[in-house]
Chain length 422, copies 2
Amino acid sequence: MYTERKPIKINEAVEAVLQFAKEGELEYVSINDSDGRILKQPIKADHDIPPFDRSPLDGFAIRSEDTVDASRETPIELEVIETVGAGAIAKRVPKQGQVIRIMTGAEMPEGTDAIVMFELTKEIERDGKTFIELKRSFKPGDNISFKAEETKTDDILVEAGRKVDPGVKALLATFGYNKVPVGKKPIIGVYATGTELLDVEEPLEPGKIRNSNSYMITSQILKAGAVPKYYGKLVDDFDRCYEAVVNALDEVDVLITTGGVSVGDFDYLPAIYEKLGANVLFNKIAMRPGSVTTVAEYKGKLLFGLSGNPSACYVGFELLTRPWVQLYLGNPKPHLQKVQGILKADFPKPNPFVRFIRSKMTIEEGKIFAEPVGLDKSGVVTSLANSDALVVLPGGTRGFKKGDVVDVLLLNGEGSSEILEK
Amino acid sequence: MYTERKPIKINEAVEAVLQFAKEGELEYVSINDSDGRILKQPIKADHDIPPFDRSPLDGFAIRSEDTVDASRETPIELEVIETVGAGAIAKRVPKQGQVIRIMTGAEMPEGTDAIVMFELTKEIERDGKTFIELKRSFKPGDNISFKAEETKTDDILVEAGRKVDPGVKALLATFGYNKVPVGKKPIIGVYATGTELLDVEEPLEPGKIRNSNSYMITSQILKAGAVPKYYGKLVDDFDRCYEAVVNALDEVDVLITTGGVSVGDFDYLPAIYEKLGANVLFNKIAMRPGSVTTVAEYKGKLLFGLSGNPSACYVGFELLTRPWVQLYLGNPKPHLQKVQGILKADFPKPNPFVRFIRSKMTIEEGKIFAEPVGLDKSGVVTSLANSDALVVLPGGTRGFKKGDVVDVLLLNGEGSSEILEK
């Protein structure tokens, strides 16, 4: 039976969902397994960088006072008494006229106060001793990397909420984070609905199509940093569906269903929410695609009833589920990054409701452009695979022209703390 | 002993490396494990989309000829004789005045040629039968999604070389790719050099620092899509170093060493290349940082001798090793994506050689900006963690001002088929 639903705005929907945001626990993982995880604590320096005065190059550690009279006309000779490599400590203390050969990264030997690079010296062997010839003077401190000049103990180097990437991992290693405090991943259950759905390995049958949404959503869940748990298809029987949903809810932090939220006779989800006694936050959003997207809450857990339409399903996850996941992980920028871009093609359709168009972003001459993909019917399928952005066209607008400036949500961007404007 | 080296240009270095590019084998992985992998074959439609004429909404399948006289003033009644859900096939064929209730995605029943959505009908129960009232006429084909209107069998939907993301995965599922043909990941060995290096779990000692490069490189290798194999530190003994390198070469596709390529007394790599009889492609690049970056080839395998300086090590991997990995995987866009951006800060230093500055990219009002990070000494460490781009300043230039337009290499971009200009 067709029932009127009251649509709410997408921002209201996002806010309704995030009222049930909760931050997940902290867990420690080995630094070797930390790639892509979200830091739950800032990275703090456990020591100064450099940890000691050191040589930034391969050369000789000298007493600068010995070089005061050195010049091109009056070169001086200094005796090399020891060689010290990085990681070693010089054993001797140079006296007047003596130097220590030193490698990049080695600690400044006691009694020395400047470094001369190899290239400025000439080595001389004489009487079984090694000397260097110098043709210029040096000042105390020349070419030394001083203790703590880069970073001091207890400095905060990376804030909590950042994702571990190669540079962050370098800092974790530098500061001894053998175990890394990260946000525990939420478990997201996925149920597909629809008797028309075949699994990927099944041959095609009349009237049926392959289930693509579950694979797509699983991939979106992984990309968002959570753990997908795919339960298969809900069968075409209300009582068994109800039981399946109740059982899954025990095992997951969030449950996603794809399909079954529209007004069809076999769209069981609304009735399941009702029988559960779940709190339906909304069952219609004034947007395209995905207007039937429904979210309900039951004992603090969210049930995302995403549309069975692939584009709507995709958009519903990115706009509603992903921010919940990001906050759970501890990312303070849970929303898709929004930038301005220039439309690369006309979009003549009117937009009675806000529209999210799967698009391909390009950068040309330092400017962002976005081209809707799949505008014609033949592009519907490939638009799934060729998008890295969503063009946002506000509701109540009449069509847009190539060259118009529009909002663009980046699907691979760094995230934003702002939701779409109210 | 200091030896003069002949620097080559970065583009020449990249070209020299890619002369030894080879494409890795194809392997099949389960669709469930395909996220982030590079497709080795295009995705081809194994059937039409839609596979049959179908209803795109919940409503009634009608014979349009029955509605010719329907209007607001003269509504008509049609009898509902069956309900067909998605995935099912109608059992009956409507005769004049009869319709079939149909759900989204269901195949068009025989004898019907248009769909009427629920919202345009009024249902009437009478004499144990169900009728709908219609107040307008419909034309043949109204609201039908026709077979093959989106995609035809054998259409190529995604080219080889693309990375599997949620949208690509949806297509893989749609077209029955239970096993996905992807590029086999190369194995990249990593050896650190330097007696000054402590492992991440070791306490600090005088004169020593923690090994951050190995963790950083391992993370870069993972991000590039390859398999890192970390061998630990090369010990401070030439013969044992040599043996370690020889043994590792047997087990990997590429061997990276960090450090040990400069002119220090314990920089063994040049001598190891020599003893191996390896073909040293270059041992100096006219760039900052990373001028000592060395690459050698031995029996078709590349040995990347990256600098021990963390920034130089990072840049060396991204510019030289990563493209080799991408070509191995089958990505036709192996290089970092290059865009133009606006400098957000002065960079007063002269650039005798091309300079790659770790930078943070932002997008403001649709334009790309890049701000160098770690310009002062106190930023050296954090610059590792806060960069997502490299600003490129050409050699032979005298300093740049805030607002200048510069080339920017994106560290998280989609890739490019072009190397830096010659």
